[in-house]
Amino acid sequence: MADEIVELNEGTDNLVIVGIQRRGVQLARQICALIEDSENARILLGSLDITLYRDDLQTIGPRPVVGATDIPWGIDGRNVVIVDDVLYTGRTVRAALDELADFGRPARIALAVLIDRGGRELPIQPDVVGKKVEVEAGGRVDVLVEDLDGRTAVVITDAERDDER
């Protein structure tokens, strides 16, 4: 995925990587480290919490913990790559696009996700995908990362059976 992002961006110039809280931030950090390693360049890394941009506050209620948004530099004219763990309905990405617009006007925004599980409710598609998996509506896809979960894995639970793929 790191290589694909560099390819997409045609190098590392102007590249900004922004992870979506919380697992997306961990993945963004790993991708950033890989790119810095292979390209020998410094990459700007930020984080985005989209809780306050959700469209379901009135129904679901507030999330107990709102995470940190950390984009300390301007994003005007830069190439921003949003990183998240799982792409499902597309609503999180919609919220992230809204939030990024409040920070400036990037030259381009791309989307990189580790797992694309299908089931989109909005016209949003990823530019870089780790793996595409078809999971039915009742199933769950959990990406586990070392820092938060103690191990790195993708756990897919189908509606009927428990199944680790």
Binding site: D49, L52, Y53, R54, I60, P62, A68, T69, R91
Partner: protein, 319 residues
């Protein structure tokens, strides 16, 4: 329609320590929003909030208004002067008429203790108490806790002394409840005529001399001498009050440790606090004001939404 805080925020007395920690933790990310160049998030888009201020206020009203606007709510300000309150309309009638225009929240300040609760029991909108008489001023108590926590870390076992006119102070009451909920040690200090009877029953230490308080405390929350509420002769003169109870640089220099200085404002410089203390290195008074916006955003955010009946209707729609 209960949020993690219930329908209303009327005071800190009956909140749990978990609820208080939730508000403080929720306020953290809201601090960053006020540092952005576009200081606005859409969380409360479409909500209508009425700021009903029956008593004068600059800081609190503006702070609430900023908090509401930075969450994208629509706001209306109503003050007693220039409204039909002057024609004799009752509080409930005013609120019911506002509610008939389909509002979501009311932020109320009133000179009568219990006014916020009285209103909360009679209207469906969420009610936030922005100060009722000498009862409570919960968002001020919360922003004081947040400021203390920013500077002192975990407040368990930290010593905070509330100095001055405790008798007339809703800020003092909210601070006492809030500090006790998070495990801090609380004291009060002031002339006996300005301390409520049986203040010890709150579970606080009482210092009769400001020097003792300074010797004991990690932080002083210096209250304003509320001259406008003093109908009887509580103190001989403000000059004498300053000489005996004023927080001065000379007194602080004798403290065994650095003491954080808080003041809820507006200050009477040269009465309860000297200018060189208010503007000095240990003063966090302006930090309190900055934190006030974040705390009020957190409270508004936590009280909004979370309506199970709407969630039920929207079932099938995934987050």
């Amino acid at each position: 329609m209960t949020s993690a805080l219930g329908k209303d925020l009327l005071g800190l007395e009956f909140l749990s320590s978990e609820q208080i920690r939730l508000i403080l933790d929720t306020a953290e990310p809201f601090k960053e929003i006020s540092e952005r160049s576009i200081k606005k998030v859409p969380a409360l888009r479409g909500s209508t909030i009425v700021n009903l201020f029956f008593e004068n206020s600059t800081r609190t009203r503006i702070s609430f208004e900023f908090a509401e606007k930075r969450l994208s709510a629509d706001t209306v300000n109503v003050s007693a002067s220039g409204s039909s309150v002057q024609k004799g309309e009752t509080l409930v009638d005013t609120a019911r008429n506002l509610e008939a225009m389909r509002i979501d929240m009311v932020v109320i300040r009133h000179s009568a203790s219990g006014a916020a609760q009285f209103l909360a029991e009679r209207i469906e909108s969420n009610v936030i108490n922005a100060g009722d008489g000498t009862h409570e001023h919960p968002t001020q108590g919360l922003l004081d806790l947040l400021t203390l926590r920013d500077h002192l870390g975990d407040l368990t076992g930290k010593r905070v002394c509330i100095c001055g006119d405790v008798l007339h102070s809703r800020v003092a009451r909210s601070n006492i409840w809030g500090l006790k909920h998070v495990g801090a040690e609380v004291a009060v200090c002031g002339p006996r005529s300005l301390l409520p009877n049986a203040i010890e029953e709150f579970g606080v230490t009482v210092f009769e001399r400001i020097e003792e308080a300074i010797e004991w405390a990690d932080a002083l929350n210096v209250l304003r001498l509320q001259l406008e509420r003093m109908t009887a002769g509580y103190i001989p003169s403000s000059r004498e009050y300053n000489r005996v109870f004023g927080v001065s640089r000379e007194r602080l220099e004798r403290a065994p440790r650095d003491i954080l200085i808080l003041h809820p404002g507006p200050m009477n410089r040269g009465v309860e606090i000297d200018s060189d203390v208010a503007d000095g290195p240990h003063s966090v008074i302006l930090h309190q004001v900055t934190n006030g916006v974040a705390i009020r955003m957190a409270v508004l955010y936590l009280l909004a939404g979370g309506r199970p009946e709407l969630a039920e209707a929207a079932k099938g729609g995934r987050p």
